[in-house]
Amino acid sequence: MQTPHRLEVENISVAYGDKIVLQNVSFQVPHGVRIAIVGPNGAGKSTLFKALVGLLPLKTGKILIHGLPLGNHKDCVAYVPQREEVDWRFPVTVRDVVMMGRFNSNGWIARPTKADHQAVDQALEKLNIAALANSSISDLSGGQQQRVFLARALAQNPHILLMDEPFSGIDSTTQEITFGLLDHLRSRQVTVMISTHDLNLAANRFDLVMLINKGLVAFGSPHDVLSQGNLQKAFGNSLLVMDGGTLLVDECCPPDDEHLHMPISSSDQVK
């Protein structure tokens, strides 16, 4: 018997109010693979993630995880949002935030169990932030914030991990720690989907690439997907084709987006 796909998306359309952001998307993801999601701004990358975790209702189609509709798996999918989406001045410690990932393990009123504390400790160790456990999150650098979110996702013990732009505005140390974590997750058969603007990363360090622009443009191995024709379809006029090859001028981020000029503090380096 064939191993069932971990994640099956059948013809989904997602809209904010009347504005359709993603149309007729279908794909199947086998377990344990690492997928890069690539597309221009407003292509619907974040929307796809939010649909996958059940934050946005589906206009059409369905999402099956382990063959069951979304909502039947409490701890199955973890989502690492863009760092800017939470208030980093909220009065909690690093440990508090990572513990939030263990929230559902034993009912949401009960106090954390020994197993919860162990899972949190391990996650903190794995991301090299155990020393920061009792620090306030307001004292962290961008890369450290990223690692806190990763530790939280790890503590959730997910089967599928979704990460929204984890590589924008972080130092190379955090990037390598992230990939180290991804290798670890692969060994545990965790499926990882990451949206990124970095096409080099997408081409070189992922098993599969999904190119989207309001819908699915292409999905497959990096070599097949990142062809000139596909990129032209996804990026349109942002793509410059020259004699010697293809030059992609991705608009990347809105001009005043903070991660373009976010300073990376020296405290980011791992001791």
Binding site: P91, D96, M100
Partner: protein, 271 residues
């Protein structure tokens, strides 16, 4: 010196006022932590004003004023959720509409009663010395329920306030939790009606919590410090009100403001 403190307490109405005032100080300060962290100050103020028609109806029908206020607060709190559901209109717009409508309705009702002038000033600015034994009992019963709920739902409320997206992916009942928080806020505002009045309840929600926010980076510590400031403000404010012969609500709020200013200036001086 001891006489200075004991003399006012020889009156039973002062004892009751003090107990009620301190309970309200603690309640407002604890709930105020969420109000400050989630930016709901406008909502707290709106709720305080919106309970006026409930009080008016209860007065006209000869019923319990607190009960009338509670019903009105519940209606408005849930109404705000209903109107802003699915982004039909923005939440602060919904708050603005409902709050001014309820306030107008309340004033309209009250203006039809001639003898209401005295009671109206008590409702607007509090009459902590008019706390009857049954009022005190109700204040403590409701206060205990609110505090118990805050303790029981500490973790879900923390996750919901820090990262609503995580709360949703963990499949927490976010709408239910949100409504519970609104109801707790409504009950708190209603109880504070008697000590600081409709006009100043928002200050007791925001000021002690804002002061505590500057002193700590842990949510639980922030709640405790905030509660201490709230209780002390009520205590000191009530003595000031007794000896200086000023309205108790104003005295309490001004005391809390002094606490805030001292902490703010000390913090600023350190930087």
């Amino acid at each position: 010196m001891i006489e200075f403190f004991l003399q006012p307490l020889s009156y039973s109405f002062m004892q009751r006022g003090l107990l009620a005032g301190m309970m309200v100080g603690v309640l407002c300060a604890v709930l105020g932590t969420y109000v400050v962290l989630r930016g709901m100050a406008f909502l707290g103020d709106a709720l305080a004003h919106a309970i006026l028609p409930g009080v008016a109806v209860a007065y006209l029908m000869g019923g319990n004023l607190l009960l009338g206020a509670l019903v009105a607060a519940a209606v408005v709190a849930l109404g705000i959720g209903y109107f802003s559901k699915n982004g039909a209109i923005k939440e602060d717009t919904a708050i603005g509409i409902l709050f001014s409508a309820a306030l107008s309705l309340g004033v309209a009702m009250i203006s039809s009663i001639r003898s209401f002038a005295v009671d109206l000033s008590h409702i607007l600015f509090g009459n902590v010395l008019g706390v009857s034994p049954s009022d005190l009992l109700l204040t403590f019963a409701l206060g205990a329920i609110v505090l118990l709920t805050v303790v029981l739902l500490y973790r879900p409320f923390m996750v919901l306030s820090f990262d609503p997206v995580l709360a949703a992916t963990l499949r927490l009942p976010t709408v239910l939790l949100q409504n519970i928080m609104m109801m707790l806020l409504a009950v708190t505002v209603v109880i504070s009606l008697q000590t600081v009045g409709v006009g100043l309840a928002a200050a007791m929600l925001v000021t002690p919590a804002a002061a505590a926010y500057m002193l700590t980076r842990r949510l639980s510590t922030m709640m405790i410090i905030s509660a201490l400031i709230g209780a002390l403000s009520s205590l000191i404010g009530l003595f000031l009100s007794y000896y200086l012969n000023i309205v108790s609500g104003s005295a309490i709020v001004l005391t809390a403001t002094v606490f805030f200013l001292i902490i703010f200036l000390v913090k600023k001086g350190k930087r």
